[in-house]
Amino acid sequence: MESLFDLSLINSTLRMMAPLLLAGLGGAICSRVGVFNVGLDGLMLMGAFLGIAANAYTNNVWLAILIAIIGTTIFSALYGYMMIDLQANMIVTGIAMNFLSIGMTTFALRTIFDVQGAYYNNEMQGLPVWEIPVIDSIPLVGNLLSGQSPIVYLGIVCTILMYIFFKKSVAGSHFDAVGINPTAAKSQGIKVRRIQYLAVLISGILCALAGAQLSLGQVTMFSENMTAGRGFIALVATMLGQSNPIGVFLSSGLFGFTEAISIRLQGLNVPTNFTLMLPYVITILAMFIFKDKNQLSALKNSAGSSR
């Protein structure tokens, strides 16, 4: 019990929330332009795989991340094509994309590395741990915040950037407009399709980073289906955060935190399945406080395409 709120808790929370945050931001930008992205999990998995595969061949973790981003973005373009141009039902497309990326990564794992289940090799370098100069020297805070993979910090930077983008930039207001009323945006000469594509591609980049954080940041390996459903939790973070970058940050933080806590609660005399439930239960409870409005429009769009 004494270990429940130890120093590593914040550290651990940051690590665990980073993939959720990045993918959640990807979901948020899509939702802001009226696209309901159920394929976050598949995009993440793709990013995780490409990161490791590229790392194994290039032996350069930065190049690996770049390749993961490029590959996942191409994959997300296919996703966008299905939804935006072929008008496929967004939820079906998303679920099918998830299935597709499980199939493709597993297939590639076999054909490229001739292994099954997991690929790792000791030579492979994962992402370094960054000690942030100033923060590091502050006594307590240094311990708490410093010493994370660059992608964790990037997640925080992306949150701020996206916040500024929507709050301050002209382009951000165009993105919002497309989500609020695509017909009106179109009637004002906005290229709605282009903006929706852009959002889906950006979500591809963010999910690639989320996946890379898993496969190169948290561990340095790839295992089949290693996202373990994190994409769906990211989707929950998107919705709970009402597609607002800060909201997504807070909700993925809440999830990372409760998950970190739930690990620590396992010492108690409660069946583990109940402590594992904690993040989900807390999230439901959190919804009593934060109620969602934004998602409804994206939802209605996806509902529309199903009828």
Binding site: L100, T106, Y280, D292
Partner: protein, 350 residues
């Protein structure tokens, strides 16, 4: 004349989708260096090759049909029930526990345990509806989260209080259902059981309810325009709750029937890992929530599953290839391919 035309386009799209899907599959198969013709032949055989495979495909379709019907029913009323998985698991575990706890066996046991499973599953989905109605909690998030909770809770039930301690393995599962309380097989020696009959009857019943009854009308109108429904005196709360209850009950029945007809016990993960609920959801969406359509699409999706087994058994094409073909097929079926679309593209291209 007009109707004929729309019917034609209705068929052309899935056919086009299947062609594209198979083409992509062909590329993948060629990549893995196998014979394309043999692979597809095995796929066909695995799904429909003989009576055994055919009935097996139909068996696999049972939970997909029922979960799909459940999802479709809620969609009709305008609610996205992403919680079919949790409801299915709750139904299954309840049925498995009740059937072995009852002091008597046979038909009555079967009925009681199935009804109990359906009720619990229905209440599970009702709960999400209640949270939305009472506290404006987004149904989409709550049903999604309730899935995880249901799976973990069921896992707890069968690893602790209701575990089959008689088996040496320590597998998290309940004890076997008594022979007399199992759903009988339709054909001896085959897996297909009476759950299929139940599923087909329910598909017809639901189609009838939706098309031909006043309640179905109310549900449909609620789904199309809440304000219009209210204006016409339809009780929104009541209709919503009943629809979600029915939706959950159908998903729960998917689990109950799978327990009593196929596994004869609840085994942790055995119903959530095969993604029955998600496949059912896709079936419902692909069929525009039409009950008969959902059934047909569910059988098709099940055939892709069982067909891929055939490929796995008889060729060196990895299992994941069939996953890829399956996903691509679904993707292209969901796309709004039509002549209209092709024409328009052509025009713009020129």
């Amino acid at each position: 004349m007009n109707k004929l035309k729309t019917n034609a386009t209705l068929f052309i799209q899935p056919i086009l989708a299947v062609i594209v899907g198979l083409l992509v599959g062909t590329i993948a198969i060629m990549l893995s260096g196998e014979s394309v013709a043999v692979t597809y032949q095995e796929m066909w055989k695995g799904a429909f090759g003989n009576l055994y495979f055919l009935t097996n495909t139909l068996e696999r379709a049972i939970p997909i049909i029922l979960a799909g019907l459940g999802v479709a029913f809620a969609f009709r009323a305008g609610f996205f029930n992403l919680g079919a998985e949790g409801q299915l698991v709750m139904g299954a575990v309840t049925t498995a526990i009740i059937t072995v706890s009852l002091p008597f066996q046979g038909l009555l046991n079967m009925i009681i345990s199935i009804v109990a499973g359906m009720l619990i599953a229905g209440l599970y989905s009702f709960f999400a509806g209640w949270m939305e109605q009472r506290f404006q909690i987004n149904l989409l998030i709550s049903t999604l989260l309730l899935n995880y909770i249901a799976v973990l809770f069921a896992g707890y039930l069968v690893s602790e209080p209701f575990r089959d301690t008689s088996s040496a393995g320590g597998v998290p599962q309940t004890v076997m259902v008594d022979q007399a309380s199992r759903l009988p097989k339709l054909i001896t020696g085959m897996n297909l059981h009476y759950g299929f009959v139940i599923a087909i009857i329910l598909a017809i019943v639901i189609a009838f309810i939706m098309k031909r009854t006043t309640f179905g009308y109310e549900v449909k109108m609620l789904g199309q325009n809440v304000f219009f429904a209210q204006y016409g005196g339809i009780n929104r709360k009541k209709t919503m709750f009943i629809s979600l209850l029915i939706s959950g009950m159908l998903a729960g029945l998917a689990g109950s029937v799978e327990v009593l007809g196929m596994h004869y016990r609840f085994i942790e993960g055995a119903l959530s890992n095969p993604q029955f609920a998600w496949t059912g959801l896709m079936a419902a969406l692909l069929a525009n929530s039409n009950p008969v359509g959902t059934t047909i699409v569910a059988i098709f999706l099940a055939a892709l599953d069982t067909g891929s087994l055939g490929v796995e058994r008889n060729t060196d094409v990895p299992n994941s290839i069939s996953g890829i073909i399956q996903a691509v097929l679904i993707l292209f079926i969901s796309a709004k391919f039509s002549f209209e679309f092709l024409k328009q593209r052509k025009k713009e291209g020129k």
